[in-house]
């Protein structure tokens, strides 16, 4: 019944071919999973694995990247003055596809590596892909984590249900009130970068770092909260990412299910494959893994550069880490609060620089932003304070307060929050959503991936 509800949910998006896509992915992956398990020879197993993965990747590529590929191929053929005419392909809406295709691929790999057995019941397998709380934007669940939960009997638990509702409402608040309001200023600047210089560019970039975090973690809270209403514990996707002390640490805290997928199925195999190149092998594997991450996010050069930047950050740290340790020791800064604060500050800025490419409408806008962020000569403080800039600063202050509240409210998973405080919190959150919520067309940033 959950399966039917999930499929209806997907169908309600009014993009009929998407239903066909998920059914196609479910059927082919289910089939490949069972064949893979039955295959006797290791050659046979490997062939089945790669065919299954190829089918899934093909579906993903067709749904997401055909327009991008065809535009670039067309440009290439014009550049090379080839006679052939390549028609540009119209974009397909592909909400959710990236997420469940990745789940399907992880399922096949886990069967091949004999970490898991194939699911015999097609209904449960399809639900593993289509479970509606996580259908549109993840988390990317592993079969071994989700399928047993889907199969277990539903038992009503008041505390779980209560916490689920709180989480759901909190997520909505983060998205509708915080992220969308920050988005107003970010859009104001990023949609027209050449009209700004100096501090507004910096502020909008920092604001975007928080906007995307609030948006995506808000969505994740909605997903986790909804899952809890069915007694399903989905995987946490965020862990205070901007408190990371290094880019590597950032990726252990941001979009956790996605980065673990990349780690387990792309980085580790490549790193092992290239192990005889030692550090160079690891560095190359990192760059490749992050380029894949970038491309997964979407068919644009902005995403590719974003991914490439993170790949470079990580690759450099492979070589730099031993010296860094010695430097900290020599300066007597090891394990000090000062060092930690510095590392958090530097990491946040490195991540923000990469986000500029992620958000900017195109590469030249991104380059403009980075080139002019420190331009103080044309900056007028008075003008800035009277403008929208101040509204943005207000938002960021609210954000700090939010951070403090949420760490109290959600410390220690399903905490037993004082009853009165709980109801006050609910009332405040709902009112805030109604009063301060931005009533634009609801748009989750990570929908488009």
């Amino acid at each position: 019944m959950l399966l039917a509800a999930s499929l209806v949910f997907y169908a309600a998006l009014n993009i009929p071919y998407l239903l066909a896509v998920i059914v196609l992915v479910a059927m082919t992956t289910y089939g490949f999973g069972i064949w893979l398990d039955r295959a006797e020879t290791s050659k046979g197993k490997r062939a089945l694995l790669w065919s299954g993965v190829a089918v899934n990747v093909l579906i993903l590529v067709v749904m997401k990247y055909l327009p991008f590929l065809s535009t670039n191929l067309r440009a290439l053929s014009i550049f090379l003055s080839l006679g052939t005419q390549i028609q540009p392909v119209k974009a397909f809406a592909s909400i959710g596809v990236s997420y469940y295709v990745f789940q399907a691929i992880s399922y096949l790999f886990d069967i091949y590596l004999e970490i898991d057995k194939p699911e015999r019941h097609f209904g449960y397998f399809a639900l593993y892909l289509a479970f509606f709380p996580k259908l549109l934007q993840g988390p990317i669940e592993r079969a071994a984590d989700l399928i047993p939960q889907l199969k277990s009997r539903y038992e009503f638990n008041y505390d779980t249900m209560r916490f689920g509702m709180l989480l759901l409402t909190w997520g909505l608040f983060k998205k509708v009130v915080i992220a969308d309001r920050l988005g107003l200023y970010v859009d104001h600047v990023y949609d027209n970068v050449h009209a700004f210089t100096g501090v507004p560019l910096l502020l909008a970039s920092y604001a975007y770092s928080f906007q995307i975090y609030m948006d995506f973690s808000g969505y994740t809270d909605i997903a986790l909260g909804s899952g809890l209403l069915f007694n399903i514990r989905l995987t946490q996707n965020f862990n205070n990412p901007y408190l990371a002390t290094s880019v590597a640490d950032f990726w252990r805290r941001w979009h956790i299910t996605f980065s673990r997928w990349i780690l387990d199925y792309i980085f580790k195999p490549l790193q092992m494959q290239w192990r005889n190149w030692r550090n160079w092998g690891t560095a190359t594997a990192l760059v490749v893994a992050f380029l894949v991450s970038g491309i997964w996010h979407g068919a644009s050069w902005g995403f590719v550069i974003w991914g490439g930047l993170h790949g470079c950050y990580m690759a450099c740290s492979v070589f730099y880490r031993p010296f860094q340790k010695k430097l900290h020791k020599a300066l007597g800064l090891e394990k000090t609060r000062l060092l930690k604060a510095w590392q958090i500050f530097v990491t946040f800025n490195m991540v923000t620089i990469a986000w500029v490419f992620f958000r900017a409408s195109n590469i030249s806008d991104a380059k403009y932003v980075l080139a002019n962020i420190f331009n103080v000569t044309d900056f007028r403080l008075g003008e800035f304070l009277l403008s929208q800039g101040r509204a943005c600063i207000n938002e960021l202050t609210v954000l700090i307060v939010i951070g403090l509240i949420s760490s109290r409210l959600f410390s220690g998973k399903e905490c037993k929050v004082n009853v009165l405080l709980r109801y006050v919190a609910y009332a405040v959150i709902v009112l805030a959503c109604l009063d301060f919520g931005v009533s634009k067309e609801a748009k989750f940033i990570y929908f488009i991936f």
Binding site: I115, Q273, R275, R278
Partner: protein
Amino acid sequence: MELLQRLNEIFREVFDDEDIDITPEMTANDVDGWDSLSHVNLIVAIESKFKITFSQKELLTFKNVGDLLNSIRGKITTC
């Protein structure tokens, strides 16, 4: 057991720690500094010392030192 001792030597070298004493149940969580980078160094050291090669599939499925030991044992006895 001789194999365990030889492997222990390699661990001590790779992690630069003379106090390591491996057991079959140990995992990466039990050894300080055993991350994916040092894991690669460990595998390369083992392959070179024992003159064996692990398959991609095996490398991705080792869960603890015991799995590693069994795989090495299997490879050196078939030489």
